[in-house]
Amino acid sequence: MTKIQLTVDGAKVSDDVEPRMLLVQYLREKLGKTGTVIGCDTSNCGACTVHLDGRSVKSCNVLAVQADGSEVTTIEGLAEGSVLHPVQEAFRECHALQCGFCTPGMIMQSVDLLKDNPDPSEEEIRVGIEGNLCRCTGYHNIVRAVQTAAAGKVSGDAEAGSPAATAETEKVEV
């Protein structure tokens, strides 16, 4: 067992962990941060993406002991109280999630992408989230969500002003 001390979602935590314990296991099993999920065992899917000292990492690819002394932000620490992060808001606004399992990782990766490149092209977004798999959305609306967040077009409860779908033959693309 190794003692680690770190800050997770703003709270200081300290635990004795097995050296082999992954950061994602530490977050889920020791801290109950079950918003961060495990989707594969080969670091392909990105569902477990969190921020480690401000950069996105796949937390299945980091040992808990490597996070000693670091600051970790998970999906549960992204919103400021009840105010959603603009990327969270954009995902909701653009229907960028269905089952929602990939969503925590996808949002954390998108936040990091926009930090590096505040005005990405569609191609840059697609390449930027390439390490995160989604099986539900075909990525179409995830790309739109990242574009929407980048453009700062998300504000509050967007549906209040959303018009009813008009003519039945109209396209649903927004």
Partner: protein, 831 residues
């Protein structure tokens, strides 16, 4: 009440509105309830010991070392199981004489696919269970494995030697026998003389549903009812099957599907892992949990597709189709899973698609092999059918030198011919193929892209352009119970809903359709908000727990809205009818004078009225109700659909093919679908996008590949290529709506449409780009290597590739010759 007031109190119409989803708040903030999140006091963890062999005798299992490992509580093998472990059911024996191997949760003496569970280790932590699983010593004697589908169909090697054959069932539909059409052999014979016969063989490769949330199960045996949480699409069916096979009364079983991270058919199953968790928890009387790894999921959760399709199409020289004959081999894998052989049968009614074939014959032979068992994967039988018919319509067009869209139009059911009874015996209620196609062509820029294609061909551009078409239909809304009964399916196809009017004016609705990403909570709220005239926000949707949603048949087959939504409409209408006499009593009016509109009961010709919430509160208080009226507005309804419904659409795909490297790149994808009336256009668009991605993935990326020893080599996301964002483009999704006539809301299913339609559009486009090199087919997935090889072989290939390919599969005399220009019919990674 004045007309002006009435207008101002009219709530915004919810149906058709692009409401943002109610589900999302918890999902985007990580406030989720996945099964693997559940931790219970004293909970134990299971790890599975799986067979590395496709087919082997288990000669001995030594569990001593594992049992002695730290914090290991128990180790179980197949020999430890008793009757209370139950069995894994096949709910759809497709013929009375179907050959069905016994399917206990663990085998005792023989494994029949690589990945099959042979022992279970139970320990205090998941890590300790896994460590100890490594210590279980299993001795195997390897047996020859039945791996190749065609060889297995010939009984060359037996997947289960005790059964004496690999052939499980032969299911046949013939239009002449059924009285729905003519004799297909006659049509083919006539076409051979004076028309044209196109014969092709297509491969539906094996796919893996690859939902993002690995399967997980928790069983709590404490308390009067035993509870199972499972990442399943079918909590109600799991409950039934546990009761039917493990001896625990159904009333003592509670199954909960909490947040479920995708299914796509892949979680429509009863699994050894669930059954073992159930049994182990009962043995130890402690809560147990099992969560699979991704590799286990890819290896042992059921697979989909995996067919060989022999298609014979007869037509007149003018392009009018006269007959269609379909002969399938379908790989069941090692066992007949819950729907199993029923999946290809679901496709049986769809090969004729939107075309007016006067004669049709379908025969499907299901075959046992030593691979993971197959079952439903998004579309389940219908993508396979759509692929075959849309591929061969292109082949017919090529044969006749016709424009492929025009040839389709010549043969499809015209708008003014609905309702139309097809040669497969289904009555299509509505549709407009002309209009969907017109819109799709316009949005796609069909003529401009054809012109560019021509220009690239003429200039010898190394990057060629191909245009692919798929004018599909599907049957969805599973299903009329009588139809299921006639097909020997073990259950019905109804759905149940309850509406509960709470004292505070809130409304709880309970649906038996258990969602796993589809957005039921939002769409169902919209329906009820409109129907009852209550705010969208006041409606709460409950589902996925058999103790709350006590009746249901769950979510699959694009059924939730068209069957479950209709049950909801009927339950809601009962609430209104129950409220009317109470409202009349409170308003001191005659019930015949009560009108209900926009959430308000009013007395005809007066300004007197009561809101639904007021009536609900008065009913709760029950201080002043009419004599003999029960103090409840709550209502239930169980709805059995009268027919399937038939979404359709025109999908157009433009693919760029680099003829020097074989690289394929999607240029544009346009679809115009007819799914009837739309409840929530945002959700519908999402279903289309995701469906398209999965169909495109079959065409270009995905394949479950086994090596010569029967080991799944694509058993991780490194090798099983679920597409990434960089592999796909933004889609051009449109609609043309002709309301369904088979349900009140006029809706048609949408969950599977994109997947069913898109695969042939993509493959047709790739082929269209490179047919000039003599290429007639490419086995899916159309990888750059296969495309490059096809171009190379085609260029250097046979003099008359089209005829050669057509003859080769059917005539032993030309065995394989015509295959030369078909790229890599891979059956196994060794090739």
């Amino acid at each position: 009440m004045t007309a002006t007031q009435e207008t101002s109190t009219e709530p915004a119409r919810e149906i058709g509105r692009d409401r943002r989803r109610k589900e999302d708040q918890r999902l985007i903030t990580g406030r989720t309830r996945w099964t693997d999140n559940i931790t219970l006091p004293g909970m134990l963890h299971m790890a599975m010991v799986r067979s590395p062999f496709a087919h082997a005798t288990i000669t001995a299992i030594d569990t001593t070392e594992a049992a002695a490992a730290p914090n290991v509580v128990a180790v179980y093998t197949g020999k430890d199981l008793d009757e209370s472990a139950g069995v894994l059911i096949n709910a759809w024996p497709i013929t009375p004489d179907q050959v069905t191997p016994a399917h206990p949760p663990l085998p005792t003496d023989r494994v029949s696919f690589a990945g099959e569970v042979v022992a279970v280790v139970v320990a205090r932590s998941a890590a300790e269970a896994r460590d100890a699983a490594e210590l279980v010593d299993v001795d195997y004697e390897e047996l020859p494995a039945a791996l190749d589908l065609k060889e297995a169909a010939a009984d060359t090697v037996l997947a289960h030697p005790d059964l004496g054959t690999n052939k499980s069932a032969l299911w046949v539909f013939d239009s002449q026998e059924a009285g729905t059409g003519g004799d297909v052999e006659e049509a083919i014979a006539k076409a051979r003389e004076s028309g044209v016969v196109v014969e092709r063989e297509f491969r539906q490769q094996r796919l893996i549903p690859a939902f993002m949330e690995p399967r997980s199960v928790v069983v709590d045996p404490t308390g009067e009812q035993m509870t199972m949480w499972s990442a399943t699409q079918i909590p109600h069916i799991v409950r039934f099957a546990l009761a039917a096979t493990t001896g625990v009364p159904e009333s003592k079983i509670r199954v909960i599907a909490p947040d479920v991270g995708g299914g796509f058919g892949g979680k429509l199953q009863v699994t050894p892992e669930e059954w073992m968790a159930w049994w182990v928890a009962r043995q130890l009387m402690k809560p147990v949990k099992y969560t699979e790894t991704r590799s286990e999921s890819l290896m042992a959760a059921h697979h989909g597709r995996d067919q060989w399709q022999k298609i014979t199409l007869a037509a007149e020289k003018d392009g009018t189709v006269t007959g269609l004959k379909v002969e399938l081999l379908a790989d069941l894998g090692s066992h007949v899973a819950i729907v199993g052989g029923g999946v290809p049968v679901l496709g049986a009614f769809m090969f004729n698609s939107i075309y007016k074939f006067p004669a049709y014959h379908f025969a499907c032979q299901t075959v046992l092999t030593n691979k993971a068992w197959t079952d439903a994967y998004r579309g389940a039988g219908r993508p396979e059918a759509t692929f075959a018919i849309e591929r061969i319509m292109d082949e017919l067009a090529l044969e006749l030198g016709r424009e492929p869209l025009e040839l389709r139009e010549q043969n499809w059911i015209r708008h003014d011919e609905f309702p139309f009874t097809t040669v497969a015996g289904l009555e299509y209620d509505s549709g407009n193929y002309e209009e969907a196609t017109r819109k799709a062509k316009e949005s796609f820029g069909y003529d401009a892209l054809r012109a560019e294609q021509q220009q690239r061909r003429e200039s010898g551009d190394p990057v060629q352009l191909g245009i692919g078409i798929s004018t599909f239909t599907e049957m969805c809304g599973l299903a009329p119970s009588r139809v299921l009964g006639s097909l020997d399916y073990g259950a019905g196809g109804w759905e149940h809903a309850s509406v509960r009017m709470l004292a505070t004016g809130k409304v709880e609705i309970v649906t038996g359709a258990s969602a796993h990403g589809q957005g039921h909570e939002t769409a169902f709220s919209q329906i009820v908000a409109d129907r009852l005239g209550v705010p969208f926000e006041d409606v709460e949707v409950l589902h996925g727990d058999t103790q709350i949603a006590s009746k249901g048949l769950d979510t699959y087959g694009s059924r939730s809205l068209v069957v479950g939504g209709e049950a909801l409409v009927k339950a809601t209408d009962k609430v209104i009818e129950k409220a009317k006499p109470i409202a009349a009593h409170l308003l001191e009016a005659d019930v015949s004078d009560i009108e209900f509109s926009a959430g308000r009961f009013s007395v005809k010709g007066t300004d007197q009225g009561l809101a639904m919430a007021e009536v609900a509160l008065a009913t709760f208080a029950a201080h002043n109700l009419p004599d003999g009226v029960e103090p409840s507005l709550d209502s239930d309804a169980t709805y059995d659909p009268i027919n399937f419904n038939y979404p359709h659409g025109t999908h157009l795909c433009a693919m760029e093919v680099d003829t020097e490297t074989g690289q394929v790149k999607m240029r544009k994808y346009t679809c115009v679908d007819d799914i009837g009336n739309v409840i929530n256009p945002l959700i519908v668009a999402g279903q289309m996008h995701g469906g398209l991605a999965q169909g495109i993935a079959q065409a270009l990326f995905e394949e479950a590949v086994y090596d010569d020893a029967g080991t799944l080599v694509s058993a991780s996301f490194v090798d099983y290529l679920v597409p990434t964002a960089a592999d796909l483009i933004s889609f051009d999704v449109g609609h043309n709506s002709t309301p369904s006539l088979t349900n009140t809301l006029g809706t048609k299913g949408v969950g599977e449409a994109g997947t069913i339609a898109s695969t042939p559009a993509v493959v047709n486009a790739v082929l269209d780009a490179i047919r000039q090199f003599g290429v007639t087919d490419i086995t899916m997935p159309c990888t750059p290597e296969r495309v490059w090889r096809a171009i190379q072989d085609g260029t250097a290939g046979a003099k008359d590739p089209t005829t050669g390919a057509a003859a080769a599969h059917f005539d032993p005399a030309t065995d394989g010759a015509g295959q030369s220009n078909i790229a890599d019919g891979t059956e196994g990674a060794g090739q």
